[in-house]
Symmetry: C2
Subunit: 315 residues, 2 copies
């Protein structure tokens, strides 16, 4: 048995690629192609899939793979990573028989020659599609959809800086096979599952990805959620602002900020409950109106929000 | 500038693959394919090519690449290896931008995603031919010949246990492009250059690849040369035996053996100057005749000659 597995904290590309590569290995075996594996390949995952991945698998009638966290004594094929720290436990006591990835080259080594195909492109799904082309193995309709979902998820519907022309070209080919007419719509459909916050309380939305900073002696908190459409959270803005007020008072913040980032419009609606609203104007050159301001092109907390705020608080 | 380089002590696959991959990278750049490199790729080698490689390059009018042994501060693409110990010096201070190989996965890691294509097949030349197919870059006639030479050299004309069906299929395609009618003949032509011992003295032939062993208190020496046709050395057997006699007397050997291995006939003419000829019969089940015996199917000193000799000396 060959266990095909993606990285820890699995995302859609990692889970779908394990399923697709397991299929490719099994078919390839029968075709006597480039690489022969005598054993059956089965996809596994290192942890519960996220809501986006669950949605994708359910939509195309693919069952969620079993969880496997320890590779000791097993034959494994790695997808979407080549670093030991992201691999199952005891990877050094496993036999790695193949690697398909699109990241930096990690520290997994092998005693024997194996297939290792890593390309600097947007997703492992794209690499797998190229391997299907290479081997001549036919792509089943449902697996084409899984590869397309992988690409759209990992490239944030082609908006990530990692996107290449190859990802777009391959996506069009996969959409044809999968019978998906509108790639953009399909991408938004998928990405919306992870940005669906309807089941979360206001406090949960604010704190899901929230970081504290000390800015020139001021305690500042900045949260962020990424959504495919601001409409998914717009009707909860007042509720969010009320909750932010409570948090500010309870914990003595000089300011609490929440980035509602629209990945399609490529900008952020910044919510702010602050002692001194001029800080926001200093930082971003725009005034808050009713505790809100739209910041066009701003998507990164680390690169585009925290540094200007730190400058504004220090001046 | 991207320096495309094979392993230390370069062989034909390593040198030809550097030349071919440099061409592929440059053409690929212009086609805007899977991976874009803005800089020009140039092939380099880590040491003088062997007589086989020199012959191949000369035959197809390709000039010998420059020698480069230190990678510090350079951009490099590695072919035919992914281990630091085989790479140019200071590989940790270089930027590795691509790897194409057919060995075990080594310890080179990268901070960024790169192209890394390693396949468990007979030669890097075969992997490169598949990359041409993948990218759609046209294969020039002379480079087709170089890839074919790489495959035939590394697989010992398809006789090595590493040979796959893919190597044979790709060789046929390359032979067509290169206009080479008889692959077998071309392979023998190449391999004969390395097994051409006409310029060597008898002592040089014996000691080129010679190892001493202690077998149950007996000092035993076993040398080996591999030739494409025994005829290349048959007329020197008497001369070799005379030299072996001298060596035995000078250095107090219980036995001196020389394997004249015919890689085409897949067997070894074993020359032996020994105190006790019955040792050979015990070891191989055949008697020496005039200090010679043909051992069918025997090609490996390590696996097929040393162990039975050790058993014979110990009994």
């Amino acid at each position: 048995m060959i266990y095909v597995v993606g990285h820890k904290n699995p995302d859609t590309d990692s889970v779908c690629s394990a399923i697709v590569f397991a299929h490719l290995l099994n078919e390839w075996k029968n075709k006597g192609g480039l690489v022969k594996f005598d054993e059956e390949a089965v996809p596994v995952i290192q942890g519960e899939p996220n809501p986006e991945t669950k949605y994708v698998l359910e939509k195309f009638g693919i069952k969620v793979p079993e969880i496997m966290t320890d590779a000791e004594g097993k034959k494994v094929a790695l997808v979407d990573h080549s670093e030991k720290v992201q691999a199952p436990d005891n990877i050094d006591k496993a036999e790695v028989v193949a690697i398909v990835d699109h990241h930096k080259i990690g520290d997994v080594t092998t005693p024997n020659p194996i297939l290792f195909v890593n390309l600097p492109i947007g997703s492992t799904g794209t690499v797998l599609k190229l391997l299907f082309d290479w081997t001549g193995v036919e792509i089943p309709k449902d697996l084409a959809a899984l590869m397309l979902a992988s690409i759209l998820s990992d490239t944030v519907i082609f908006k990530s800086a990692t996107t290449t022309d190859m990802d777009k070209k391959v996506s069009e080919e996969l959409a044809k096979i999968a019978g998906i007419d509108n790639i953009q719509e399909f991408g938004i459909d998928i990405k919306s599952k992870l940005s669906d916050v309807s089941g979360l309380s206001a406090r949960e939305i604010i704190t899901r990805d929230f970081k504290d900073f000390d800015m020139s002696g001021n305690k500042v908190g900045v949260g962020q959620i990424e959504v495919v459409d601001l409409k998914l959270v717009e009707n909860r803005v007042d509720e969010l602002l009320d909750e932010m007020k409570k948090m500010k008072e309870d914990a003595g913040y000089a300011g609490i900020y929440l980035m509602l980032t629209d990945i399609m419009k490529e900008g952020t609606l910044l919510l702010a409950i602050v002692d001194d609203e001029s800080v926001v104007e200093k930082a971003f050159g725009k005034k808050l109106e009713n505790n809100k301001v739209w910041l066009d092109g701003v998507m990164s907390r680390k690169k585009q929000v925290v540094p200007p705020l730190e400058n504004a608080y220090s001046s």
